[in-house]
Each structure stands twice: as structure tokens, then as C-alpha cells.
Amino acid sequence: MAAPVKESIDRGGASHPLIELSLARLREFAREPEAVFWAFIFPMLMSVTMALAFPGGGGKPALVGIEPGPRAAAVRETLAHAPGVAVRDIRPGDQARALREGEVHLLVVPTEPPAYRFDPSRDESRVARLMVDDALKRAAGRGDPWSAREEPLQVAGSRYVDWLIPGIVGLTIMGTSMWGIGFAIVQARMRKLLKRLVASPMRKSEYLLAQVAWRMVLLPPEAGVPLVFGVFVLGMPVRGSLLSLSVVCLAGALAFGSLGLLLASRARTFEAISGLMNLSMVPMWILSGVFFSSSNFPQAMQPAIQALPLTALNNALRSIVLEGAPLGSVVRELAVLGAWGVGGFALALRLFRWR
């Protein structure tokens, strides 16, 4: 059997086009100080902000205001001794403002019996109402049939901040992948560099692949900064394996890279690409469970929300980081990311405007 005749390729000292194209983008990025700054500073800032917002320790007290009245002093005395309640006096004309701005969660009108003013749609207000009601009724002589034994838990991994950090990692991967790819392509199109490249024997698919591939070099620091910050500053546990975590981050970066290509496939101006980026990313900021769980949205929306790439990435990251899940249990999420990656790339290649 004859061996297939393979024409030898002489690239005159240059590497494979995929490597040269990736290197070119990496060099351009590294020589753009602002781009480097934002790529690493953004996740850092996010992390510091989180540390400021969640210093750890117990929960915040219920803020309770007391209106002036004949029994005001007695109510204040009672609540001052109640655990987890902070009391302050509110002037009569100031109540609406204090409630609206969250200066107090609940207002007590010290009549006999007292009245509570609060917004029942606010969780803090409902909690404050329960605490105040309990304290006042006890002081009025209510007896308890029994007292439950309380077992307070303050376990690393179950706090809000632990839940939040994987979401920030997902958000960072989405933002840096899409902006980094989208803007560079639009710039090359505006400079007619894309047109010059397709006049050469360059393969179009290799160009698009390289735009996504070079970003993988930046993935470890981009995803790593918020993770390292979470682990060492906020004490977040990482229960899954680093390998599983890396695979999921990589799948996420590829999915969002393809999405970046797709959005940039026809845009001719920076304004156009910015609009498309925001249009696609802002809904995911809200829907995909970054700052609060996507289970807050109605059941009817869930199939769509679960199909979003950021939802899949965040869910997979949380399973691995917080629950120590193996890769086998995030197959569904990986499949969603893979579908966005492959589908987005194929569509981008079809739609891409080279002129």
C-alpha cells in the first residue's frame, strides 16, 4: 500500500498560521497597557468590593424605629434588651423617608396594643416584625410552651459570599472573553485588515479559531484572581478538584469566545459591537444567578434560563467549588457550554463579514 503523497510545506521559518495568528493577537494585547490593566484589575476590584460588602461575622441587626407616643419609653426599653434589634427614635414627619431609604426596617407605633408599619415585600422588614413582635409579647407576659434548642451554623461554604464568588468567576470569564474578542475583530475590520487577510491564502476558520485560542493564555489569571481572593481573603473552600475547575473554566471561555465571534461577525463600528455586547450580557447578569439565585424567576422561564451559557457556567462552578462535584455530575452544563461554543463558532464562520 502506497503512503499518501503529502506535499511538503515550507513556511520560511514561520510557524503554523494558527500559532502565528494567536501570537499576533497576544502581542497586540500585551502591547496595549490599558487592555492589560483592565483585564486583571476588573476581577480584582470585584473581589475587593465583595470583601468590603461581606466582612464576615454574624448577621446584621433588625433596624427598628419608634414613633413618639405615651408608651414610647417602655417599648424602647423592652426592645433595647432584645437580641438582634437596634432601636432608634424617628420624628413624626420623617417616617416615610426613614422606611423608604432603609434607615429602619420597621416602625413601631407605641399605642396599646402597638401597631407595626413596614413593607411586607421586604425580607428584612418581615424579619424585624417577627423579632419585635416576639420581644414585646414576651415582655407583656406571654409564656412559651417550650424553647427549641438552637444549633447555629457558621460553616465556610454555606455563606452568601461563598455562593457569590463562583458567580463572579463566571461573570469575569464572560466579560473578558467577549469584550476582548469583539473589539479586536471590529478594529481589524475597520482598518480593512480582515479584507487583506482574506486576500491571502489564510483559512478563515483558522483566523476565527486563533481569536478564541489566544485568550486561553489569559484564562488562568482572569479566573484565578477572584478564586484566589475568595480562598485566601474570604475563606471560601474549594471542595472539587482543580482539574475539574479548569475544564469548566475552559469550556466557559470557549463558549463565550464563540459568542464574542458571533456578535462581532457583522459589526462595523465600536458603537454597534458595544450595543450588541450589552444587549447579550446584561440579561445574563440578571438571569444567570450571579448575585442572586436564578430560581427566583418563574418556573416558565427556567428552561430558557438554564440554556443560557452563564447559567450553565455558574451552576457548574458552584457544584464543583461548593459541593466538590466531579466532572461527571456537570455533564449537562458542559453540554450547554459546548453547544454554545460549537454552534456559535459555526454560525460566526457563516455570517462573518470580511470586508
Partner: protein, 248 residues
């Protein structure tokens, strides 16, 4: 041997007819010029020939091959310089050439290319730092020469260049041609066409209004009308259209 041939090319953008039934042939080893004022349809024509634009009608063959079905092979055999390309500012001259060279399966080395376009001393300079249009244009030509092409397409290669840079570029193109290469260029400079081209087609309103060797075209005007005046391609154009080349 035919290098480039096109027949009855037509291309319109909305109501504007850019190319209107244009035909010509370029023999191998020849330098052929498309000469005409801005807006005559030169760029549209050359981009159709380069396989970058789809014509509304007409046929194109490069070395006897059509773009459809032979694009990969043809791209390896041609070199292209476009009018408005800005190469990446923050890559060096050498990195830019390395990138373009990587697309070709054969061709010159980076060192050879740098020597041919006399940019050896700028090897490690960023493209943004190249002085003036001359060096940038020489880099663009080096990119076009990376695959050691049989055919070079040049769209207004010296527009905006100072006289010295123009002559440098002319020397480069003459050298390519002497080594057996075929060139198709567009220009609106008479002297450029007379210096470089074996044959020219004068294009106006998307049609070829005259075609031949520059000397023949000038001679066809008969005796120079002014004694001190040698007779140029500009005279040919004026005689054919009643307009000067730079007029619109």
C-alpha cells in the same frame, strides 16, 4: 500564455454602475495597467479579479482557472496589495511578515523579504513607528511577495507617496517583473503607467475606452500638437474623453 482574462464584467452598487461590461487580457510576464480617474471603476475591477468581490455578470480567469473551485490554489499563487489596508500597528515589521508568510506553502524567507523591500533596519520597529507612507507601502508589498507569487495585484501602489518613495517602489516592481512575474496595477498617474506598464487599458465610467502599449496610444494621436510637448498618456485620455484625468 494568459495571466489574467476578464470578459464583460459588470458590477453595480444600487443605482451606481461601477463596472459596465469591461474586458481585457493580461499576458504572463507582462505589467498591465488600469488607468483612469478616481471613480472610474478601477478598484472594483481589481477586487473582482482578486476574487474579493463577486461580479454581477462576466467571467474571470486567472492562469486559466476560475475563482470558483480554485480559490485555495489561486490564493497561493497571487500577491495582493489593497488600497486602504492598515496593517496592525503594534506588531513589528518582522512579526507582520512572519504572519503573512505562515499562510503560504512556499515562498521567500523573512530575511529575503526584508532585503528586497529594504526594511532590514526596521525589522524590530512597530508598524506604527514606520516613517511615512513609503516604508508602510514597502511592507505591504513585502506581504504581497511573501508567497513568491506568479502574479501581483497592486491597487494604486504609489498614491500619496513622495517622489523618492515612488521611485523606490517602481524599482521594486520592475525587479519583480524582470524575474518573470506578472503585474496588474491600477493608477491615475500617467508617468507611472508609462514607466512601468507594457500595456495599459484606459478606463472611464466602468468601460475600457482604449487599450494598448503606452507608446502606441500616444502615437495614435498623430503628431504632437505642441512642438515642445512630447505627448503623454494624459493627452490620449483628454483626446478620448475631452476631460483631464484629475477632473471629475
Amino acid at each position: 500564455m494568459v495571466g489574467v482574462s476578464c470578459a464583460n464584467l459588470a458590477k453595480r452598487y444600487g443605482d451606481v454602475v461601477a463596472v459596465d461590461g469591461l474586458s481585457f487580457r493580461v499576458n504572463r510576464g507582462e505589467c498591465f495597467g488600469l488607468l483612469g480617474p478616481n471613480g472610474a471603476g478601477k478598484t472594483t475591477t481589481i477586487e473582482i479579479l482578486e476574487g474579493l468581490l463577486e461580479p454581477d455578470a462576466g467571467d474571470v480567469e486567472i492562469f486559466g482557472l476560475t475563482w470558483k473551485g480554485h480559490e485555495r490554489e489561486l490564493r497561493q499563487r497571487i500577491g495582493v496589495q489593497l488600497q486602504e489596508t492598515q496593517l496592525a500597528d503594534k506588531l513589528t515589521v518582522e512579526e507582520t511578515l512572519r504572519l503573512f508568510r505562515s499562510f503560504y506553502h512556499r515562498g521567500r524567507t523573512i530575511d529575503e523579504l526584508l532585503r528586497i523591500v529594504e526594511l532590514e533596519s526596521k525589522r524590530r520597529s512597530w508598524v506604527a513607528k514606520l516613517s511615512g507612507g513609503g516604508q508602510k507601502q514597502r511592507l505591504a508589498v513585502a506581504c504581497a511577495l511573501a508567497g513568491d507569487p506568479d502574479l501581483l495585484f497592486m491597487d494604486e501602489p504609489t498614491t500619496g507617496l513622495d517622489p523618492q518613495s515612488r521611485r523606490q517602489l517602481w524599482a521594486l516592481l520592475s525587479h519583480f517583473r524582470q524575474q518573470g512575474g506578472t503585474i496588474l496595477l491600477t493608477t491615475h498617474y500617467m508617468d507611472e503607467a508609462e514607466t512601468l506598464c507594457d500595456r495599459v487599458a484606459i478606463v472611464d465610467h466602468g468601460r475600457v475606452i482604449a487599450e494598448g502599449m503606452p507608446r502606441e496610444l500616444i502615437a495614435s494621436l498623430g503628431a504632437p500638437r505642441v512642438v515642445t510637448h512630447q505627448g503623454t498618456l494624459e493627452d490620449v485620455f483628454v483626446a478620448l474623453t475631452g476631460r483631464h484625468l484629475r477632473e471629475e
